[in-house]
Amino acid sequence: MEHEKQGFVSKYVFSYDHKMIGKQYFTLAMSMGFIGGILAVLIRLQLGFPSKPWPFLENLFPVGMASGIMTPEFYVSLFTMHGTIMVFFLLSLLPVSGFGNFLIPLQIGARDMAFPFLNMLSFWTVVPGAIIIIISFFVEGGAAASGWTAYPPLSAIRSAIPGSDLGQTLWLVGMIFFVASFTMGGLNFVVTILNLRTKGLRMMRMPLTTWAQFVVGILGLLSFPALAAGALLLTFDRSLGTSFFLPAGIFIGDTLMPHEGGTPLLWQHLFWFLGHPEVYIIMLPAMGFTSDILATFCRRPIFGYRSMVYAIGAIGTLSFLVWGHHMFVSGMSPFLGSLFVVTTLAIAIPSAVKAFNWLFTIARARIQFTSASLFGLGVVSLFVTGGLTGIFLGTNATDIQLHDTYFVVGHFHFIMAGAGLFGAFGAVYYWYPKMFGRMLSERLGKIHFWITFVAYYAVFFPMHYLGVSGMMRRIYDPNVYEYLQPLQPVNLFITISAFVLFAGQLIFIYNYFASMRTGAPATANPWNAAGLEWSAPAHPGHGNWEGEIPPAHRWPYDYSEPGKKRDFTPQWEA
């Protein structure tokens, strides 16, 4: 297959090449993640030092931090946008859209994704979404301020909070762009994996990363349209006077609203029908990366490959049956709540299978400690910590007290955000040589890991203490409550740790961009890894392989096979 020589625009801007599109997603996701991180720092600033004036910040946020003190409405916008940006524009875009696009063709032996044009379109659909989300900070009333869950009526009625004016409209428009992009991506993933696998690459020989992306593609296709529908209906309620989510009798700002007949619970069902699979859209790729990385650096096959695949499938399937666990105390029928307990805690079983398989992959290994493998080991630790706290929340009886407290914030920052982020970091360290033909600095990578790992626990573990002690999430100043005042030292500790955590990420950003120019040149297979992607040249061009596409003779985990000379047998060798 010949590929024509490309000009600047067709190579770097409107590229059809899955690898370039993957890298475009990286740049976008990392920029958004950086902004999301700054928002987190500001949130922690307020919680660590409630209402303390920071005069220099007035220059940056003349309205939100007039005279240097954060306003409550700005605080609400901050955590709303932190959640939105991190969940959708970092943790979905980087591991799924970024790595999915970059890795799937390389791992299955394809020249490109099945629909390269759709792929490009998908990227250029999410860009306006991201721009609209960022612009919403600068409109009158500020950015959306109804939480990343955007529960109506708060999100539906413009006078309910300043951010529910233009900011919320832009949020909804941004999300619709995002959903459109993500759905195109999911379709592309599924079709590519089903149709374009190289000779010999049976489904049960695929790397777990590709397995995860396959299931994620299906999850995205089935769940995101629910959010699109919800966002459209909410837009109608806001702009056209419909009442999908609004009942009669709402009285805000001395005005009786003209709506009647809707229910806010409908939005919660639509939102969480996406919202819960979304958690696994973030988690599953991280699980895949971790499995691939651990096998490579433990020099050992992944333990229980078959059960890992089944676990991915089981988690993906169950993820559609658990959304009601976000709604135990929402006014939903208590009987329904009980059903969701059973499905929710059932997810613990495939999750435990993954955790034990990883442990047994590490046992009897010969671990090489690279930045990638350290982050992979980090995922295992965070995943178990966050998974166990889920049992408290999935059991409706204990959820009553912990619901909407910092216990929940701690929980999902470990299981979803933490494992998702560490998995993505590990993946960047691992596949960077294939992306840019150069190595990342291992020295900086290890510093980055140690700061991130320790600071991550320091930030998010104490949040469980706060939650158990009864501190609600999304409150601007916990000291309003007498019973929360003794917790201020914990909040201060978390804030300081969060600053360290953020600073640590600057090392990564520097390493990522500087190594593109100054990193040591990479060989085609610098880690002696067995996966098919390592058969491509160090910096593969358009079309990935210069000659024939190599066939797959085996699974990608043949490490330390007895009787072989080398400690790995590449997938493409007979």
């Binding site: 609400v76 109804s146 939480g147 009526p153 708060l154 009625i157 309910a160 909070i161 009669a248 009798g249 709402i250 805000i252 009786l256 619970l265 433990c298 020099r299 050992r300 229980g304 490959y305 059960s307 105390v329 929402s330 006014g331 208590p334 307990v341 805690l345 613990a348 435990a352 299978v353 398989n357 046992a363 009897r364 290994a365 010969r366 671990i367 090489q368 400690f369 493998s373 178990v384 166990l388 049992i391 408290f392 059991t395 409706n396 009886a397 009553i400 291992e442 290890k446 140690w450 158990v468 002690s469 009864g470 609600m472 309003v480 019973y483 880690w527 490490y559 330390s560 096979e561 400690d567």
Partner: protein, 289 residues
């Protein structure tokens, strides 16, 4: 292996990883013990017991797993003498063990949880003191039905500064109704049933000391019931984001001895109580103010 990534077999990283994981386990667990649930003032102690049982099980799982993780990282670090990794990668027996083992631990938790859920979410006892909580940005109004035990009708068109809950005064049942703002008073050792509705956006009533939390949803009446077992003054919080003043949507819950509660009703309920109340009822006529 000559061509391994440089420095990747250094013992320092592996030992450090093990030590750090162990240190995190020890510190995080020790500190956990220092933070307990807020002092219990209701009959929902069984929810606390379940919480502590789950804490025990997950705590042991957390400690054992992380210690094991630290151990295998330390034990199988690449630079140990005669390092070799094993090709062993499947064991149906082991995989079945931890699949069934996890399920076996979870099933009792699930069923206990469901039984307890049923207990707290079942219908309130007949003799419960009933109050209607009306949530609004950013205020709690507690609507007492008065001696007739019936709430007067409300009409959203009647919301006004001096009628925060939109009570329809023409409804006979409304005659003895009265409202407390940001304060709820209930007797000890008698079930309390809180019905709730919202004027504007969603709120959630959170009584940290009573293990009670329930959303207020516009267009719906939700409810919760519990029995306070300790007198005193407690904080009531809003736990569902409701706007810029969400953080200060706070009220107080006063739990009184039965006799004090009756006295308090006498002193505070409006005179209408006297007109409607049956002299034999528990609330004697209020004295003129």
């Amino acid at each position: 292996m000559a061509d391994e990534p440089k420095g990747s077999r250094g013992s320092l990283q592996g030992i450090a990883m093990a030590v750090v994981i162990w240190a995190i386990v020890v510190l995080s667990s020790l500190y956990y013990v220092r933070y307990g649930v807020p002092e219990l003032a209701s009959d929902r102690g069984f929810l606390d017991s379940l919480y502590y049982v789950i804490l025990g099980i997950t705590g042991v799982a957390y400690i054992l797993y992380q210690l094991a993780l630290g151990y295998v990282i330390y034990r199988y670090r690449g630079d140990r003498p005669n390092a070799e990794s094993s090709y062993w990668h499947e064991s149906h027996k082991l995989e079945l063990t931890w699949t069934i083992g996890t399920a076996a631990i979870l099933i009792p938790i699930v069923f206990t949880g469901l039984i307890y859920w049923d207990r707290v979410r079942g219908p309130a006892p007949e003799d419960a003191v009933t109050v209607m909580a009306v949530g609004a940005q950013f205020q709690w109004d507690f609507h007492y039905p008065g001696a007739d035990g019936e709430f007067g009708r409300f009409d959203p068109t009647l919301y006004a500064i001096d009628n925060q809950i939109g009570l329809d005064e023409t409804d006979p049942a409304a005659a003895d109704d009265w409202v407390l703002t940001n304060q709820l008073v209930i007797p000890v050792d008698r079930p309390t049933r809180i019905l709730m509705r919202s004027k504007d956006v969603q709120h959630a009533i959170f009584l940290p000391n009573f293990r009670v939390k329930q959303d207020l949803v516009p267009g719906m009446t939700t409810e919760v019931w519990f029995t306070p077992v300790k007198t005193g003054s407690y904080e009531v919080a809003c736990a569902e984001l409701c706007g810029l003043g969400h953080y200060r949507m706070r009220a107080f819950l006063e739990v009184m001895e039965e006799a004090d509660y009756q006295q308090w009703l006498n002193d505070n309920a409006p005179a209408a109580v006297a007109e409607v109340a049956d002299p034999a009822a528990e609330a004697p006529p209020a004295s003129a103010q």
